[in-house]
């Protein structure tokens, strides 16, 4: 039986909710989210559990 190796909470930029990403040592992953049924296949974390939105609400201040 595969062993869970990661349990990560992320902020979904699509629905603005907390989403839990689970990963197992056999390479499989799952998304635990109350909105998964309404999002269906459009969930970005289903396609890529490491998904990171490129969007930034505001520019970052980068000190020189």
């Amino acid at each position: 039986m595969a062993k869970m190796i990661e349990r990560r909470r992320v902020h979904c930029p699509v629905k603005h909710v907390s989403v839990f990403i689970l990963k197992w040592d056999d390479g499989s992953s799952a998304v635990k989210c109350g909105d998964l049924r309404s999002c269906g296949d459009s969930c970005p974390y289903l396609k890529d559990p490491n998904y990171k939105s490129p969007f930034r609400r505001a520019p970052k201040y980068e000190p020189e």
């Binding site: 699509v14 603005h16 505001a58 520019p59 970052k60 201040y61």
Partner: protein, 496 residues
């Protein structure tokens, strides 16, 4: 990527009265998408007869609805919550299309609106009273909360989806019926919600929407069957019209007005995190929110800190991406309309006339991503050397303008914030718990931010406000909304 627009063609918005979609006989006006500056819908300015018909429908629905158990009322709200989740993206895009805000801001607004529906689902617990046995020998006393009847809810243009949901879910959860008047500039979000309310199984007359302007507002204020009004808008209207008329008519009232929020920066603040917070505070929603930062007060006499902080603020602000809100890369959309842009420009001109130093001019070189007319777009503006007696230092601008001031110490910064007429959402940025506590303790502000730029209370906390920012006693959201929409009835009983 530009997202697809949900509103197609130019639909005529109808009123939702007694569970039916009814065409108004009133004058018809355009609803304009400010990014493209094109007409996306037509909205009626409903007549006195139409608001009266909605109040009649709500009044007729009330006796059955109040007898419906709180659990059954909550089930309708649970269904509404599920439907809102299913239509999450669509309703978010509608907000962007009609208002201009970025899709990320709209999604955030949708989430905050839904959270109020979720909290109102707890009405069987929220509405409970309390009791005490033996207040005298063999006598018990208890309190029950009862609905009052019909409430009017009047929404502003800046949060077309969320703000009516600060009130309406609690009103209907507690057994009242509502008549909602959205802003005629942005009526489409409330139309979409009403469609979902209908689908969720609310009985006819419980949730009504009447579009329009002053006639509808006056019709609500003057109607003897409207028990109270929840209003969000400008201070002159909140104070001189809504609060005053509700007082004269004996109605309950929540009247939320404007703001001029002070963001106080202490020298020990985390510069990188603070600047990021300031960007969304001052320029998010294009500055059109009562929680926006307006005056930036930098504390301390260290000119070096002031200069380096302001250089960083200006450099970061200059990078804000401006464009159509349905472009997912955009960080700031247009102002809601041309008149609002002109009003903000008027404030910029007054700042120059009154001697403030224009550090970043939003009127010039506006780089709008994509091929859109610049009719409603305005870049972020930063003024330095602003004083409290200047218009840009004292009045609500409601646009992307930062007025920068300096204070010698925390005492002076708090005095500056407290000297303003408004008291909505001041904030301090510091690494010191002692300073934060002192600020929280002494500042006259309904909400207080500690290293938070947009002090937006969650649905289970009241949306507070002080001085000219709020007129009334109880607030929208959470427990206070439940109390606003119910009467506390006390029963004392003895059995012989």
């Amino acid at each position: 990527m530009i997202l697809e627009e949900p509103i197609k063609g130019v639909p005529l918005v109808k009123n939702f009265i007694d569970g039916e979609w009814v065409e108004s006989k009133g004058e018809i006006r355009d609803v304009v998408n400010p990014a493209k500056y094109e007409v996306i819908a037509k909205v009626p300015i409903s007549t006195k007869d139409e608001i009266e018909a909605a109040v009649e429908a709500a009044k007729a629905a009330f006796p059955d609805w109040r007898r419906t158990t709180p659990l059954a009322r909550a089930r309708c709200l649970f269904r509404l919550k599920e439907l809102l989740e299913e239509h999450f993206e669509e309703v978010s895009r509608v907000q962007t299309q009609e208002h201009g805000k970025t899709i990320d801001e709209s999604r955030g607004e949708t989430r905050r609106g839904i959270e109020n529906v979720e909290v109102a689902c707890g009405v069987p617990t929220l509405m409970m009273g309390y009791n005490l046995e033996d207040i005298a020998t063999g006598i018990d006393e208890y309190l029950i909360r009862q609905p009052l009847g019909v409430f009017g809810i009047i929404g502003p243009f800046n949060f077309p989806f969320m703000i009516p949901l600060w009130s309406a879910p609690y009103a209907v959860a507690t057994g009242n019926c509502v008549v909602i008047k959205p802003s005629s500039e942005v009526p489409l979000s409330q139309m979409k919600i009403a469609e979902l309310v209908d689908e969720a199984g609310f009985p006819p007359g419980v949730w009504n929407v009447v579009n329009g302007g002053r006639t509808v507002v006056n019709g609500m204020l003057d109607h003897p069957d409207i028990q109270g009004i929840a209003f969000v808008g400008s201070t002159p209207t909140a104070r001189d019209v809504i609060y005053k008329r509700c007082g004269e008519m004996g109605k309950r009232v929540i009247a939320q007005g404007g703001a001029k929020n002070f963001m106080v920066i202490m020298p020990d603040a985390n510069v990188r995190a603070t600047i990021l917070a300031l960007m969304t505070s001052f320029f998010g929603n294009t500055g059109q929110r009562c929680l926006s930062g307006a005056n930036l007060v930098i504390v301390g006499e260290d000119d070096g800190f002031y200069k380096s902080f302001m250089d960083a603020v200006v450099a970061t602000t200059s990078k804000i991406v401006i464009g159509c809100g349905l472009d997912e890369s955009v960080q700031m959309g247009p102002l809601r309309d041309k008149e609002k842009k002109e009003k903000v420009i008027g404030y910029i001109e007054s700042g120059l006339q009154q001697g403030a130093k224009l550090r970043l001019d939003g009127r010039k070189n506006i780089k709008v991503v994509g091929d859109y007319p610049d009719t409603c777009f305005l870049g972020p503006t930063i003024f330095e050397d602003v004083t409290l007696d200047m218009k840009i230092g004292s009045e609500e601008i409601f646009g992307p303008v930062m007025s920068v001031m300096r204070a010698k110490n925390l005492d002076e910064a708090i005095e500056m914030a407290n000297s303003n007429l408004f008291g909505n959402a001041h904030a301090v940025f510091t690494a010191s718990g002692k300073i934060a506590r002192e600020f929280q303790y002494r500042v006259t502000s309904g909400s207080v931010g500690i290293n938070i730029g947009i002090v937006a209370p969650m649905a289970f906390f009241p949306f507070s406000g002080m001085k000219q920012s709020f007129f009334g006693i109880l607030h929208t959201q959470g427990q206070e909304a439940v109390r606003f929409f119910t009467e506390s009835k006390v029963v004392i009983q003895r059995w012989f």
